[in-house]
């Protein structure tokens, strides 16, 4: 960890030395570890220390972005020259208005010292504990257990100066009894809240000892666990919940604001400050997070903005800027769906013939404006008959419009959980999605996994 003072000092110097009309420097540091296990044994255990500086310079309306993790003086000098040279080479971006100015950022605690206790030895011990608990009931375990410390600091030439340290850990677990697999996962900023036994039990409940049966594809009453609902929300966030998608005419929200699109039981929003999720006080432009409600009791309401999309409409950013350069738009990363009034058992009891889905695998977009996606079920798919979970079924492929599915929601669970894919492709920044389980009256399964 670099610490607030050193981080801001470094960034202020870079911004000052840039000589640009406007400049923004973002520092991301990471000190993390990830341990993977399979067949109940550890097969990969890695640790990383990195720091990345991302500089955005503006000359008039000419913008360029340069990135480095080499903070030697000569390297930073070279970086500044590159940024200016790139910006000068291009035509102006006429619809650019300005980088954001400073706004008060809420004081939120996002770092827990408990994370520091997760030494390699402690993590391996916990993984062994998982393995032994599962072994007692005839299961083998696989998964990933990761924790990290991350710092985000942003300075811009208009006076933004923010710093935030984050801690995080996630544990994904798959248990396998040779016949079926089950899944459970955990994500938090606080290591003390991890309950290994509870996680193993949850995963084992999803892996029945009976042979999975083949059922015919078609529309079924379907109960989706929070893991599966979380995935649906993430796709909506990417496809349509942000201003760039609307401005480019590619969002399912285009011309739909104020209209009822999904069931009134459905309210979906983004809130970086809600303590039920993994809090994030400001975005990657240093703008404080605002709550943005996409569906309010089924009605399309509003979308997220960063400084670019907000500038085009003469609005203020809602605090959803991502790491520059970002041509995908201000995609929300702290999604929530409201809780309902049902229990999971009530949902099952009210189902005559249906499918219970724990989570999805390898989902992808088929028709973006209709929010049609496809994917497979995995790690706990069951047939429900006459109000009871009867038996596991072979994994099913679904091809369905998320909007259509949400318009057929007939029950929402009282309980919600925070979940996170947790995977990190380049820069570590863990957030979570908070979702209930839902019951959908008619979810389209288009195929079955089978040789």
């Amino acid at each position: 960890m670099i610490g607030r003072e050193k981080a801001l000092r470094l960034l202020k110097k870079v911004v000052h030395d840039s000589g640009a009309d406007q400049a923004e420097a973002l520092l991301l540091t990471e000190d993390s570890s990830l341990t993977r296990f399979a067949g109940s044994g550890v097969h990969q255990h890695v640790a990383e220390r990195n720091g990345t500086l991302i500089l955005r310079v503006v000359l008039g309306k000419r913008i360029a972005v340069v990135t480095t993790n080499d903070f030697r003086r000569s390297s930073l000098k070279d970086l500044l020259l590159k940024a200016i040279r790139l910006a000068k080479a291009r035509l102006p971006q006429e619809d650019f208005v300005s980088l954001p100015g400073p706004r008060p950022v809420p004081d939120v605690r996002t770092f827990s010292n408990s994370i520091l206790r997760l030494t390699p030895g402690v993590k391996v011990k916990l993984i062994r504990e998982l393995g032994l608990l599962a072994h007692e009931r005839g299961f083998r375990t696989s998964g990933a257990f990761s924790h990290g410390q991350v710092e985000v600091a942003i300075v811009n030439s208009l006076g933004v100066e923010v710093y935030q340290p984050y801690s995080d850990l996630f544990l994904h677990l798959v248990v396998d009894n040779g016949m079926n697999t089950g899944y459970a996962s955990f994500v938090s900023r606080d290591a003390q809240s991890l309950q290994v036994e509870r996680l193993v039990n949850e995963a084992m409940e999803k892996a029945s000892k009976s042979e999975p049966v083949r059922i015919e594809p078609g529309e079924y009453e379907t109960i989706l666990e929070p893991y599966a609902v979380s995935e649906l929300l993430s796709f909506l966030g990417t496809l349509g919940f942000h201003a760039l998608a609307v401005q480019e005419g590619r969002s399912f929200f285009c011309d739909q604001f104020g209209k009822k699109i999904v069931d009134p039981r459905v309210t979906i929003y983004d809130d970086g400050l809600d303590p039920d999720g993994l809090q994030v006080p400001f975005d990657f432009e240093g703008v404080p997070k605002q709550k943005v409600t996409f569906f309010d009791a089924g009605v399309a309401r509003e979308v997220t903005h960063d400084s670019f999309t907000a500038g085009k409409e003469g609005k203020l950013s809602t605090g959803h800027g991502l790491i520059a350069p970002n041509s995908e738009g201000p995609i929300p990363i702290n999604l929530f769906m409201n809780e309902g009034e049902s229990s999971l058992s009530e949902m099952i009891q009210s189902t005559r013939k249906g499918i219970y889905v724990t989570r999805f695998h390898y989902t992808n977009v088929v028709e973006p404006m209709k929010a049609v996606i496809t994917g497979m079920t995995r790690d706990g798919t069951f047939l429900i008959e006459n109000g009871e979970i009867k038996q596991p079924v072979r994994n099913l492929r679904f091809t369905e419009s998320i909007l259509k599915a949400l318009s057929r929601v007939s029950a929402v669970s009282k309980e919600r959980r925070v979940s996170s894919e947790g995977t990190v492709y380049s820069r570590r920044f863990i957030t979570g999605t908070v979702t209930p389980a839902i019951k959908v009256d008619g979810f389209n399964f288009s195929g079955i996994s089978s040789l």
């Binding site: 550890v42 255990h45 590159k82 291009r90 696989s142 492929r397 996994s449």
Partner: protein, 482 residues
Amino acid sequence: MKRILQNVIDSAKMKGVHYGDIRLVRRQSQEIEIKNGNVEVLTHDEELGFGIRVLFHGAWGFACSSKVNPREMEAVLKKALTIARASGKARNDKIHFDPAPAVVDRYQTPITLDPFDVPVETKLNLLQAAEGVLRKNGKVKISEAFMGSYKTEKTFASTEGSNIEQELIECGAGISATAIEGGEMQVRSYPNSFRGNFATRGYEWIEALALGSHAERVSQEAEQLLSAKPCPSGTMTLILDSSQLALQIHESVGHPIELDRILGTEASYAGTSFLKPEMVGHFRYGSDKVNITADATFPGGLGTFGYDDEGIRAQRTPILSQGVLVNLLTSRETACHLHRESNGTMRADGWNRIPLIRMTNINLEPGEWTLEQMIADTDEGLFLSTNRSWSIDDKRINFQFGTEIGWEIRNGKLGAMVKNPTYTGITPHFWNSCDAVGDKHHWQMWGTPNCGKGEPGQVAHVGHGTAPARFRNVQVGVIKQG
């Protein structure tokens, strides 16, 4: 620097490691994206760091840092040893890590023109000209042009005495037009979707793509798709163009043959495979028309290199021979499961990731048909082109793909254009239904720069050489219309 790396290796040996290596990696990338007349992305990234991997106390340990100096290297080595020692207490079976001969060598991607030597103004002009043509079409609401240039310099040193320097250069470009009308969105791309086509070649590759000369057709097809008829539903004959077939190979052959997946190390994330090591040598994966090789030596392939990140020389390995599974992608640790030596596929996504088994260039060897002969020989079916979506289950059995565009085939001729084409199948059934593969004149190499695997996530750059091919009795038109 060579001496500093050697000092770390010597230090690892003194600590008693069974094996150790260090990789020092510097990467540069430059990306440009033009969207609707604006330069949306103009960026230059540089990163430098090193990673140390040790096999110690019977387990692997890996640690890495972006601070490149001797003191940090010693600290990182210590951390890797601590990790290995801890992991050894929860290991499964003993790790068999086959020895390899020491290699001292240097490899450089053969290129004519280094893309980093080309002025950014030249690149901007090329992209803006092509994107400008797309934008002339009023139905095109999102016009995009992309270009990326990438350079990786890495030095590998191991306790076995290897010292290998490599400089890999890659670049690629593409255009796409998105037509939107009445709640419908249709995309056409050239030369491929998702940013274009990429290769281990110099800037001459970008120039040869001739983006501008394809822009008008691309925008017209995007517009025409808005009013095209929906893809029919049913079971029929399918001809896939070579770019779509590249992704079909990637998902339903390339990933299932990764031996680490087969052995379960990706079980909780990317998934496993329907294959087992004992199926090698006799499992009929596809028809006798299907010959697939893993070829890391093919000039220009995006999965072409000199040595993998375990110090094994790049090689060409038959995988499917006349449809029969004859080999898998292996590493020094996993090859013993086939009683063979590693075929050199371990690659890491930079200094801060460990090497994993990754595809190299997984190629469908050319057959004997021209595309015209294939179409003329088909009474009724569909010809589909350019990937739009993909999905496959965690054992790589059930897949579903969507393409940007399709055409009906009736009585041996291409007919009406169809929109939103999709098809689905079961991997070995699909490959066994292949009855025609295009010839070498229709064969080309496609670069896939976004192959995800592993935790922490890694993105590999891989290649697929393909020609169009025909498949019988395929389920098409999966989306419910209306």
